[in-house]
Amino acid sequence: MILDLHTHSIRSDDGRAKVDNYCQWIKRKDLPIDGFVLTEHRQFDGDSDYRALEDQYGLLILKASEVETDYGHVLVFGVNDDLLHALDFGRIDHPIGDVLAAAKRCGAYAAPCHPARKNVGLFSHYERKGAVDGVETVEVYNGGSIPGEDELSVEHAARYGYRTIGGSDSHIVSRIGLCATEFTDPIETIDGLVAALQAGRHEARTWRT
């Protein structure tokens, strides 16, 4: 099963894609993904209900968040009431250790994204501040990376023994599915996704040319 783990909709300040249009695009272009995860910036969208779209298009649509820390941006899957209470998602300066610990404590899963990106990527902080305990998985393929960034992410992930995921980081419809994550097991819910990430039964995929 292949999921794009990193997408943004019009709920994000810089997102210009409607979720319905993502679904139509995936089907029309026959993209090899079975669903996607909406990771809105600095928030968790607890309101939107995409079940009708899931049924209409036969896609899995899950919701997560992209939070901002002192070691760059981090995708958080499995956001629940406990985590919403523990973290102020609107902050841009979370200590990364707090995010990793809170996610673990609340049964969620945190994975730094675009880790080689200047300022907002985990590895760009490692040279100056050292490695972070508690990181297990990083996004090595990101649809918004500039040339060379993903290669560096792959190299560093291998060096630190991190597992890898991929996501398009799409902000407009036509960018969805450029990168994704292939899971060994079928996933039907956000809890299933968290369990699969915890188990590490997945690999990052990219279709960028």
Binding site: R16, A17, N21, W25, I146, P147, I172, V173
Partner: protein, 135 residues
């Protein structure tokens, strides 16, 4: 171009707009933003830019022109562009568009990009909401 002739996923014909120094100079005069960062490579480098940059609003105008050529007589109800990476004056760029939504009110949504042909970097990303002429 009528609404029933458009399908989600259609791509607009690619365009390579004129981004020569001469044309950019004319544009910035018309736009009353005749600053050296747009018209003088050395001055732009002194400001920390990689060279004289194509004004973002000129790029937006080029994308709008591409839409009008694809669908003559159409009206752009909204265009929204994000300037991501400076595009350098005189360095070829390519404008692309793809239909990402065909709406019940006979309008279409289009994704827009401008890429540097040299580096492949995305300089401008955007969207447009367009009413076709015969709708």
């Amino acid at each position: 171009m009528r609404i029933d002739e458009v399908e989600l996923g259609d791509e607009l014909p690619e365009e390579r707009p004129d981004v020569s120094l001469e044309t950019v100079r004319r544009f910035v005069k018309a736009a009353q933003m005749d600053f050296p960062r747009f018209t003088d490579h050395d001055a732009a480098r002194a400001e920390g830019l990689p060279g004289a940059v194509i004004p973002g609003i000129m790029s937006q105008g080029q994308l709008a022109a591409m839409i009008h050529r694809w669908a003559p007589g159409s009206s752009i109800l909204k265009i929204d562009t994000v300037f991501r990476t400076p595009m350098i004056v005189g360095t070829p760029v390519v404008c692309r568009g793809a239909v990402t939504g065909v709406n019940d009110d006979d309008t279409v949504e289009i994704d827009l990009t401008i890429l540097s042909e040299e580096s492949g970097a995305t300089g401008v990303l955007g969207t447009a909401h367009v009413r076709l002429a015969d709708s």
